[in-house]
């Protein structure tokens, strides 16, 4: 296994209903991460949850208002670069950052560096 390098993980918590310039906020954030050449971002949808507004996010037949988590992992510098941008895009929610040791594995030739 290659030696791990220190990095940061950023976790953004908000609602599926949140939007940014007409498209879902999570899509907008992932697009922005690509634009800023961040190593990777993953969006998860929770089953149930509640946040600062104390409203329960739960799935209904018609409305989708479930909790969303976006996790971004990269070096400390890159995370510092993306942090003010996503902070600007989110108008409510929560951002958590912690230290991680990262090992990137890339064996296939088709993958972009």
């Amino acid at each position: 296994m290659p030696a791990p390098t220190p990095g940061k993980i950023l976790r953004l918590h908000f609602s599926e209903r949140d939007r940014y310039q007409g498209k879902p906020l999570y899509e907008a954030i992932v697009d922005k991460c690509r634009e800023l050449r961040i190593a990777g971002a993953t969006v998860y949808r929770g089953l149930e949850g509640y946040g600062e507004a104390a409203e329960i996010h739960r799935s209904h037949v018609l409305s989708h208002d479930l909790p969303i988590i976006v996790s971004i992992i990269d070096s400390a510098e890159n995370v510092a670069r993306v942090l003010p941008v996503v902070e600007e895009m989110m108008d409510k929610g929560l951002i958590a950052m912690s230290d991680v040791e990262v090992v990137r594995i890339q064996r296939s030739k088709t993958a972009k560096p």
């Binding site: 296994m1 290659p2 791990p4 990095g7 993980i9 999570y26 899509e27 992932v30 991460c33 690509r34 190593a39 990777g40 971002a41 993953t42 969006v43 998860y44 949808r45 996790s71 992992i73 912690s98 230290d99 991680v100 040791e101 990262v102 090992v103 990137r104 594995i105 890339q106 064996r107 296939s108 088709t110 993958a111 972009k112």
Partner: protein, 256 residues
């Protein structure tokens, strides 16, 4: 099979890893004092708390006396070959061998190196439920990122990873499916409303002691083609059932 004794008394020191396998070849009618020798050996092993021993009767064979024993002629005279086998830790085998050497008056004792890969023991009756106990400590969290369509030797990679972690006695693992993302392969993976995308991002989260996470990371790194492994320090607050064997409850090793 003539007799089986699988018992886990205090004396057994058997655990995963290197061990010794002892095979004793006898004749069914060889006596030890008043009982047959294979029964006496089984009784002795059970008394010494050996994890398990099996005696089996052979179809046919010949030994030191160079007489061919076959069922046709020997079944009535009870003169067929019998094999007694057991697996124990090297220390335990060393302790048992002098007595076995003394007991086997006519036969052969063979000792070979072996590896114990799995010891599973079902509890005979469920443990009564005790109140929960909190355990706090330092641990590591490992997140492994991959695609849902990634494969390892024909099976889904995340399945293979969970199986491997289980084999390594890792405390627990959870697989998450993301709805959108990009990473090592550089392409966006997205879930669609009508037809589910077959390549959503997948993350496996694992928590255990730092040493076990390090060992697991090495094993998992070999299995992944494109992906990412991120580890971080976590404080754990674990709720466990406080039964008398809690010392052995690390990573759920129920068997001894």
């Amino acid at each position: 099979m003539l007799g089986t004794a699988i018992i886990g008394k205090e004396g057994s020191m058997l655990k995963k890893g290197p061990a010794k396998k002892v095979t004793i070849y006898l004749n069914e009618d060889t006596r030890y004092h008043l009982e047959s020798l294979y029964e006496a050996i089984l009784r002795f092993l059970m008394h010494k708390g050996v994890a398990g021993a099996t005696a089996s009767r052979a179809m046919a064979g010949f030994g030191a006396h160079h007489l061919l024993h076959t069922p046709n002629i020997e079944v009535l005279s009870e003169h067929l070959p019998v094999r007694v086998e057991f697996v124990e830790s090297p220390d335990k085998v060393e302790e048992l061998l002098p007595t076995l050497y003394d007991m086997v008056s006519d036969g052969l004792i063979e000792v070979q190196d072996t590896t114990v890969f799995k010891i599973a023991k079902k509890e005979s009756k469920p443990e009564p439920r005790h109140p929960h106990e909190k355990k706090r400590g330092q641990a590591k969290l490992m997140r492994i990122y991959m695609g849902e369509a990634d494969r390892w030797k024909g099976e889904p990679l995340h399945d293979a990873i969970v199986k491997t972690l289980r084999m390594m006695d890792i405390a627990g693992a959870t697989v998450y499916r993301g709805i959108l993302g990009y990473g090592a392969k550089g392409h966006t993976r997205k879930e669609h409303f009508m037809h589910r995308s077959r390549d959503c991002p997948v993350m496996v989260a694992v928590v255990d002691t730092p040493e076990k996470i390090l060992a697991a990371a090495d094993a998992i790194a070999e299995m992944i083609e494109d992906g990412l492994i991120a580890t971080s320090d976590v404080d754990i607050v674990r709720l466990i059932h406080s039964h008398p064997l809690t010392e052995a409850s690390d990573a759920g090793t129920h068997a001894r």
